[in-house]
């Protein structure tokens, strides 16, 4: 088992290193550079751009830049964001907690809601409830994320009488510093509700549809027939017997969705003015912020590897038969 994890970690390290190298080269091969972005400003001349390139070492050969980057990275230095004029570590430190908080709430609640919807559908298989819930799932599955985000933002944030929910941001920027502990906690919760509701509604259909299919596959199993013959209630049958065995494919989905914990959801962040990683990554691509983009991709690929290892661990926990195969 230990050898398996060491092997997976080693593979993961190679994947991250390869991705980092490819991104490092590709982003520099794209037309323009971080200093091409000052459009419409005649005061930014080519001579000034040259001075900036020199200051950030971008006038050196790409191999030299790469060696220097790798050396710095092993010393914990991820570089200096050209766009935001501060160390990349600080940029990640500010944005990552916001993304982790929002995405984990969105993913967990989407997962739980998806499971509950799937159970409700399976218990009413072929009936009206199954069809209605299936229709709702399909609807939310088909709605583009930016549109749903805007709908919730305007519908529940602006049109709802009383304006219960704040219109974006992480906190009330006017009053937050004057609040006491509980008021701050409440302020943060209210700011989280609409963006996390959006993500929940975006994620749950995915889990619901897969879980429903997995449960339907599990129900005809012999052990289910045995349990039913023993007089186990329909609810317990599904929740205690069928669910655990049908969770495996959905857990794989969670592993796939895990990198979103780092990368965030760009449109949701944009609409709700949520200062997370998604927006930062998009800005770094548009602004050719090489250090921030490279660091973001390294972290994102590390999350992909971690998600895949995590999915394996949960698989092993859920299905003891797999432990021997490793």
């Amino acid at each position: 088992m230990a050898a398996f994890f060491v092997r997976r970690l080693l593979h993961g390290f190679i994947v991250v290193a390869l991705v980092a190298t490819i991104v490092f080269v590709l982003i520099r091969a794209a037309p323009g550079d971080p200093f091409s972005g000052a459009m419409d400003d005649p005061s930014v001349t080519e001579a000034i751009r040259e001075a900036w390139r020199h200051a950030y070492g971008l006038d050196r050969p790409i191999f030299e830049q790469f060696v220097s980057y790798v050396r710095s990275m092993f010393h914990g230095d991820l570089g200096f964001s050209i766009l935001l004029k501060r160390p990349v570590v600080y940029v990640l430190r500010d944005a990552l907690p916001n993304t982790l908080l929002l995405m984990s709430i969105g993913l967990v609640s989407g997962f739980l809601l998806g499971i509950e919807v799937a159970i409700a559908q399976v218990r009413n298989l072929g009936k009206k409830t199954d069809k209605i819930l299936g229709g709702i799932s399909i609807t939310f599955f088909s709605i583009p994320d930016f549109w749903l985000a805007l709908l919730i933002f305007v519908g529940l944030g602006y049109w709802l009488p009383g304006r219960i929910f704040p219109l974006g941001g992480v906190v009330d920027v006017v009053n937050y510093d004057n609040f006491g502990f509980w008021a701050r906690a409440w302020d943060r919760i209210t700011h989280l509700i609409l963006p996390s509701l959006t993500l929940t509604l975006l994620y749950f259909p995915l889990f619901a549809r897969h879980q429903r299919a997995a449960l339907i596959d599990t129900l005809p199993s012999e052990y289910m027939t045995t349990a039913r013959a023993k007089g186990v209630s329909e609810s317990a049958l599904i929740r205690k017997h069928a669910l655990r065995n049908s969770l495996l494919p959905v857990v794989t989905l969670v592993g796939v969705a895990f990198p979103a914990l780092f990368a965030g959801a760009v449109f949701v962040e944009k609409v709700f003015s949520w200062p997370g990683m998604g927006l930062r990554i998009v800005e770094s691509i548009g602004g050719r912020d090489y250090p921030l983009l490279t660091a973001s991709v390294i972290f994102a690929s590390a999350f992909v590897v971690a998600g895949s290892i995590l999915a394996d661990v949960v698989h092993l926990w859920l299905d003891p038969r797999l432990r021997d195969d490793r």
Binding site: S36, D94, P166, V173, V174, N178, A185, G287
Partner: protein, 555 residues
């Protein structure tokens, strides 16, 4: 935790929140909070490196110049300039130096006195090319800055120039020597002051929460007087429509550029009003006069002046601008803006005359010989690529209309949308047929030398289309050398007429600045170059204040 307990906890938190705000009631003529919605974080709050609007706004509110340009935007001599850190100034007899007398009451926000040494250090930082300040080039005419005594800073110039005063005072926001004297050039961008500025302005910096907000508070003991608003908060809303919703929802007080699609909604709202002002932007289709593959050869199409003029005549510029901006932009009169006192808006334009243009194209030999709908000559189609920055909705709309109008005249346009770095890269390399370009200009029209005269046509310059005309250059030089407004206007009118007649670009739109402001705020002195310049004099009458106006930061 059961659902009931969870709901109880949330309700408890809500109740606690209702009593958590520590308000302080402002009853005097001063007070209130202005919440400005901005699109993103500034890259830096260090004035020599702050090139985004938000960075410049914070810089202008937290720091001071020696003197401030007047509302007329006059840049000749010192007429109209208002004293700021310098309470007065004396010109030398030969005009090669100006002695600025620092206001002895002026203090930094950390309570240190302002000295002439601050001015000298500021010049060194701005002009040091290793710092890469985009504003350094404006100081090229300054030879040195010396501290004659603790409160007198003398700026020495290489040569007399009508704009030497403007160049000297408008470029530099004065920086604190006591905090920056020992900081090396390479360390400046990472210095603490780049994120926690300490200035002399009427607002002092409080905090910057990355991606969320920037907060400024009134400097109540400021030498120029306490500002009327207690706080100015910039809240970051990257999405335009979300920003408008936050304004209409009462979470923000001001949007500095309202998208055209939101004008109706804002106009109907009873709490918000629109504020229209002339802007300092104009845009155009810039034609590359040189062959993109060989700069020593004229462009296969645009090297021909008559063809350029004919293409301009095909286009209904008024219709194009209306399509993209509705009524929120004027048709550009040339490479200038109406806000300049030197701009003559009655300049003779190339008329919109499609039939006449078609006849000119025919006479130039551009005819559709093979019936494919595209004119050609000697086997070469009348076809070109038009680069458009993908982020600009207005320019994309205009490009589509231009494409259609030219198609009807037998001219094929291939619209190529690029992201900004790729777009600017192609401009810099002169690797284009035509671009949907635009300039945001300074209060001084002097930048035209770089953007349209021969000086900017060199590699590294910003005259991307490589337009060269000796007459135009001479007229611009004469205008910039003129020491009277009337003289400047006369020569600039001649220069603009020359370039309009040569048609190296098709002048499109001069967008207006359309701001939306909450009605409770009294705005005064909205300048075209910096609407925020007089925010310290904006106010909110006591009877119109809302909850956030009474909430001041706990200290």
């Amino acid at each position: 935790m059961s659902v009931v307990r969870l709901v109880a906890l949330i309700l408890a938190l809500g109740l606690a929140a209702c009593t958590g705000e520590k308000n302080s009631v402002a009853t005097s003529a001063t007070g209130g909070t202005l919440v400005i919605s901005v699109g993103g974080d500034p890259e830096s709050l260090f004035p020599p490196l702050a090139s985004t609007t938000t960075g410049q706004m914070v810089g202008d509110l937290v720091y001071d110049r020696l003197a401030e340009i007047g509302d007329s935007l006059n840049t000749v001599g010192d007429a109209g300039f208002q004293p700021r850190l310098a309470k007065s100034w004396d010109w030398s007899a030969d005009s090669l130096s100006i002695a600025f007398h620092v206001d002895p009451r002026a203090r930094w926000h950390d309570n240190k006195a302002v000295t002439a040494g601050d001015v000298a250090l500021t010049y060194r930082i701005y002009s040091d090319s290793t710092n890469g300040s985009p504003f350094g080039t404006a100081l090229a005419n300054i030879d040195s800055v010396t501290a004659t005594d603790s409160l007198t800073a003398t700026i020495w110039f290489h040569a007399k120039s009508p704009m030497q005063f403007y160049d000297a005072v408008n470029t530099m926001l004065i920086l604190p020597e006591h905090l920056l004297a020992n900081v090396s050039a390479s360390a400046l961008r990472e210095n603490a002051i780049a994120r926690n500025p300490i200035g002399t302005g009427r607002y002092r910096f409080v905090q910057w929460n990355a991606g969320q907000s920037i907060e400024l508070a009134a400097d109540t003991a400021n030498y120029r007087g306490r500002p009327r608003l207690d706080r100015v908060i910039m809240t970051i809303a990257p999405d335009f429509s979300a920003a408008v919703t936050r304004l209409l929802g009462g979470e923000a007080d001001l949007i500095e550029q309202v998208p055209a699609v939101s004008i109706d909604a804002i106009a109907k709202d009873t709490a918000v009003r629109l504020l229209l002002a002339n802007g300092l932007d104009y845009n155009f289709v810039q034609l590359n006069l040189n062959d993109p593959k060989n700069a020593n050869r004229p462009h296969r199409l645009f090297g021909d002046r008559e063809l350029r003029r004919a293409l301009t005549m095909v286009l209904d510029r008024r219709g194009i601008v209306r399509n993209a901006y509705d009524s929120l932009a004027s048709v550009a009169v040339g490479p200038t803006v109406r806000a300049y006192p030197t701009t003559d808006t009655t300049l003779r334009q190339i008329p919109f005359a499609r039939d006449a243009a078609m006849r000119i194209l025919d006479s130039l030999g551009w005819k559709d010989t093979n019936g494919d709908g595209v004119r050609d000559r000697n086997g070469m189609p009348l076809e070109f690529d038009l680069l458009v920055p993908s982020v600009s909705k207005a320019r994309n709309t205009m490009a589509a209309v231009i494409q259609e109008q030219l198609r009807k005249a037998g001219v094929k346009v291939n619209v190529d949308k690029l992201d900004i770095p790729a777009f600017v890269d192609r401009e810099n390399k002169r690797n284009f047929d035509a671009v949907m370009g635009g300039w945001h200009v300074e209060p001084s029209p002097g930048g035209i030398r770089q953007t349209w005269a021969s000086a900017g046509a060199q590699t590294g310059g910003t005259n991307y289309g490589s337009y060269r005309n000796g007459t135009f250059d001479a007229e611009v030089d004469s205008a910039l050398a003129s020491t009277t407004l009337a003289g400047r206007r006369k020569f600039f009118t001649a220069a603009y007429q020359t370039i309009i007649d040569d048609a190296p670009a098709i002048w499109l739109a001069e967008p207006k600045r359309v701001m939306a402001v909450h009605k409770r705020i009294n705005t005064v002195g909205v300048r075209p170059d910096a609407w925020w310049a007089n925010v310290a004099d904006w106010s909110i009458p006591a009877d119109r204040r809302i909850a956030r106006d009474r909430s001041i930061r706990a200290r």
